[in-house]
């Protein structure tokens, strides 16, 4: 293994061929990206191509061949997203400021208004997969103004038209189908024989249109109708309309906004904005309480069950174990949704049972304390089998003679547990408990599927709930139904990274201690 790896026969040529092919494809992609001015992406791909090729061709890189693909996967799907998220935390990226400045400028430049001139009714004719449009002029009804053929995928721009004595070939499209085609029709830029332009103005008409804005440099746009200027504000990420001749007066914002770096703004909001700060602190506390309680209860139940299952006099251990593992075997998302239904205030079986037995119908989803209790109960149910499995493994590793010795000393089972079992397994268990804490700290699935944060916290400026944990809070800020604020979400995510980083570091220390 230590001696040099010699190049092997014809296989080598095959490998070189494959590498060459992959490189070619990727390099083509790099050129495409570069052409589209995605320089960062192009550079990253180029870097991957170069290191990859080196690793697979050079003899020195031989040992890296085995790890390169795995490292690539980890860096693209874990490391890169982490860095990207931290980067987004310093921007105003959100549903109102979604696009880069260039794209927003293009959007404005593409805006049109109706100018004077004649409007045309139209009919669409279909022949196989191609369409032609017949424009009907109000003035010269006998002339047939027919467009070039086009279809959904190939649209000549501009689409030229010609006078023709005949109707276009093919079938006339019913109006209903024309409506279905409207997305394509809207994109058309029709050029009339006199070189004036038409575009779709309503479902039944094409009319003359022209662009509202023209680019006057420095990313500033001018309204051709009234001479007002649109100037980008790099602080807020919006275009500001400045009336002609009053360059200093502040006009109104014109959407959509564009993405700009806004420094520590998002972090400052978390600290200063009472609508975020309050819920954030409350959610942060609950996250830690929730993760801690989950670890505690799953550990207690799991350990208890592991001890019982391992207890020899209790026969049928195999069956017990199988049934006890069941909650772990069923995919979590199914179990969580089942609980969501069972705990339902009005139709849930749990409330029916409680009503039958005690005459109460607790409000599981609207009372804060009950909702939190429910979340912990469900998570304990979900998580104890994992703890039990780990504990069984650790219990098996405790030598029997320890218990034999304590039996001679006359210890009770409880004394056995606290003076032998627990001290023996707590050290190897520590890193696992920390990992479990980290898992629950980020247990988005449970919260998203069970309560979705309910009940809501009153006075929060972004959606936030009493059972929300930090990740689910972030998730709702980023992907919720009411406006997505990626920047703020990333700022909170950055905070979570730091927390998880600390936990991971502690875990690393604990693991090293076990190995020593």
């Amino acid at each position: 293994m230590e001696a040099d790896q010699k190049a092997q026969s014809p296989m080598t040529w095959l490998v070189w061929g494959i590498i060459g092919l992959i490189d070619l494809i990727l390099l083509y992609g790099v050129t495409l990206m570069y052409a589209q001015e995605e320089i960062a992406f192009a550079l990253i791909i180029l870097l991957i191509v170069c290191t990859g090729t080196w690793v697979f061709i050079s003899n020195k890189g031989y040992n890296y061949r085995y790890v390169f693909p795995a490292l690539l996967g980890v860096s693209i799907f874990i490391v890169f997203p982490l860095i990207y998220t931290v980067n987004v935390a310093f921007t105003n990226y959100s549903s109102s400021n979604l696009l880069p400045l260039e794209r927003v400028k293009l959007l404005h430049l593409r805006k049109t208004y109706k100018t004077d001139g004649e409007s045309y009714n139209f009919k669409v004719y279909q022949q196989d997969s191609d369409y032609r449009i017949l424009f009907i002029s109000n003035k010269e009804a006998d002339k047939h103004l027919v467009s070039q053929p086009f279809n959904e995928t190939t649209i000549p721009s501009p689409l030229k038209t010609d006078f023709s004595p005949d109707l276009p070939e093919g079938e006339e499209l019913p109006f209903r189908d024309t409506i279905k085609l409207r997305q394509t029709l809207k994109k058309l830029a029709i050029e009339l024989p006199d070189s004036s332009e038409l575009s779709m103005t309503s479902l039944r008409k094409f009319g003359p249109m022209s662009k509202i804005y023209r680019d006057i440099g420095h990313d500033t746009l001018e309204d051709v109708r009234n001479g007002n200027q649109l100037k980008p504000n790099y602080e807020t990420g919006f275009y500001i309309e400045v009336p002609e001749g009053q360059p200093d007066s502040a006009g109104k914002q014109t959407g959509p906004g564009f993405v700009v770096y806004n420094g520590w703004d998002n972090f400052v909001r978390v600290i200063n904005d009472p609508g975020i700060q309050g819920p954030f602190l409350q959610i942060f506390t609950w996250t830690i309480v929730f993760a801690g309680l989950s670890v505690f209860f799953t550990l207690v139940v799991g350990l208890l069950m592991a001890c019982l299952v391992q207890w020899e006099p209790l026969k049928g251990n195999g069956v017990y174990r199988l049934l006890l593992i069941l909650p772990y075997a069923v995919p979590a998302f199914i179990s969580i949704l089942i609980f969501r239904g069972l705990f339902n205030q009005n139709f849930g079986e749990i409330n029916m049972l409680l009503n039958l037995l005690f005459g109460v119908q607790p409000e599981w989803f609207s009372n804060e304390f009950l909702a939190k209790t429910m979340v912990v109960i469900v998570n304990t149910w979900l998580g104890y089998p994992y703890m039990m499995i780990l504990a069984i493994g650790l219990l098996k590793s405790i030598p029997d003679d320890l218990y034999e010795a304590s039996a001679i000393d006359g210890a009770s089972p409880i004394q056995n547990f606290f003076s032998i079992t627990l001290p023996m397994i707590i050290k190897p268990l520590t890193p696992l408990l920390i990992a479990s804490f980290a898992f629950n700290f980020n247990n988005l699935v449970l919260i998203a599927l069970l309560t979705d944060g309910a009940p809501n916290i009153i006075g929060a400026s972004t959606p936030a709930g009493a059972t929300d944990i930090l990740v689910s809070y972030t998730f709702r800020i980023a992907f919720g139904q009411y406006g997505q604020d990626y920047g703020l979400a990333s700022a909170i995510a950055t905070f979570i990274f730091i927390m998880v980083g600390v936990i991971a570091w502690v875990n690393l220390k604990a693991t090293k201690r076990v190995l020593e």
């Binding site: 293994m1 230590e2 001696a3 040099d4 790896q5 010699k6």
Partner: protein, 378 residues
């Protein structure tokens, strides 16, 4: 089959800061059986692994059959190796284990079968061919491991402490089988062991290695025939290592040099004579006088004797060992006797060191030539 040649072979794991092996020079003739022996940490296994390519060679040259093969990977060296842990592939049957190498080499099916059958016949494994390794005893596994390398018809056989996992009785039996096998195949063999009995009984020549001292030129101590090492150890290290129990050493000074008889004065004042050629030394030089436990004689006093105190007795039946103390002794003072009934612990006793059986070493540990030693070249 081929001869193996090592020229100044050295090994360092940290780019030359510290060395595990230094300047090993060996010529192993075709068909020879050679044993590497030394205490743990002397690098004997490392040296073997360098011969088969599992470790790279930091410095020096290794050639097999006249070809320099320093940079050849193990799979191209055509050597066979028997590992201490046997290293049988657990997921393959005995037959598959033995056929694995030939299959990789895309050998003919009929050739593979005939080779495997032949090896099985030689090693009496015919009945076990379909078994998996875990269903076999240690001795059987050992034979399969040997069979696996026989099948490949390697140029050199390498054995890495092959018997150390077996119990004593089996070890003796396997030792004889390996000897028989070598007589039959006459393939060049290198055998690493820490057990000197194995080395003495199996090898044509023994290579003694020592853990490398900080400024030593080499850790190859001596190469020689088994009895040569026993009767003519080149230095203190070999003298102490070969033979069991260990040789007894006394500190002293040269009283009178000579080409046949040398007189030594111990620090206790006792004067002893040894049949060694000490003309290269001077009177008053520091020396170490050695006598093997089986050579010393208890309670006969022909003048060449020391007086010690009996500490403990080990009665083994056919023989007994007397553990004694003496002011000038290094490490141990053991005397082998046939009958220990009359001895008593704490009693004083005279021990005779027969003149022709004494060894003498200078301050650097190098041996003076023994003039009256028995012939070993049989």
């Amino acid at each position: 089959m081929a001869e193996v040649k090592l020229v100044n072979v050295s090994k360092s794991y940290d780019q030359g800061k510290t060395w595990t092996l230094k300047n090993i020079n060996l010529n192993i003739a075709e068909g020879e059986f050679i044993a590497f022996i030394g205490p743990s940490g002397c690098g004997k296994s490392t040296l073997l692994r360098m011969v088969c390519g599992l470790e790279d060679i930091t410095e020096g040259e290794l050639s097999i059959a006249g070809e320099l093969i320093n940079d050849w990977p193990p799979n191209e060296r055509r050597v066979g190796m028997v590992f201490q842990s046997y290293a049988l592939y657990p997921h393959m049957s005995v037959a598959e284990n033995m056929a694995f190498g030939l299959k990789l080499a895309k050998a003919d099916k009929s050739l593979i079968n005939s080779r495997v059958e032949e090896a099985a016949r030689i090693l009496q494994l015919e009945a076990l061919l379909e078994r998996k390794p875990k269903a076999m005893s240690g001795g059987q596994r050992q034979r399969v491991a040997i069979g696996r390398s026989i099948v490949q018809q390697p140029r050199v056989f390498l054995f890495d402490e092959p018997l150390s996992n077996l119990d004593v009785a089996l070890r003796v039996q396997m030792r004889q089988e390996i000897a028989r096998l070598h007589n039959r195949l006459e393939t060049t063999s290198i055998y690493v062991t820490h057990d000197q009995v194995e080395a003495m009984t199996l090898a044509d020549h023994i290579v003694v290695l020592s853990p490398l001292a900080l400024d030593a030129e080499s850790n190859l101590e001596q190469v020689g025939k088994p009895l040569e090492l026993y009767h003519h150890p080149a230095n203190l290290f070999v003298a102490g290592f070969i033979g069991s129990p260990k040789m007894n050493f006394f500190d002293g000074f040269i009283e009178e040099t000579g080409n046949n008889e040398t007189r030594v004065k111990l620090t206790t004042g006792e004067i002893l004579t040894a049949n060694v050629d000490s003309q290269s030394a001077n009177k008053g030089d520091r020396v170490v006088l050695g006598i093997r436990p089986e050579d010393a004689l208890a309670e006969t006093d022909n003048g060449n004797a020391v007086e010690g105190k009996v500490e403990t007795l080990e009665r083994l039946g056919a023989e007994s060992y007397i553990y004694m103390s003496h002011d000038t002794i290094r490490e141990n003072f053991i005397v082998r006797v046939e009958d220990s009934r009359k001895r008593e612990v704490n009693s004083k006793m005279k021990i005779e060191l027969p003149i022709q059986l004494c060894h003498l070493f200078n301050a650097e540990g190098k041996a003076f030539h023994r003039t009256q030693a028995p012939a070993y070249d049989l």
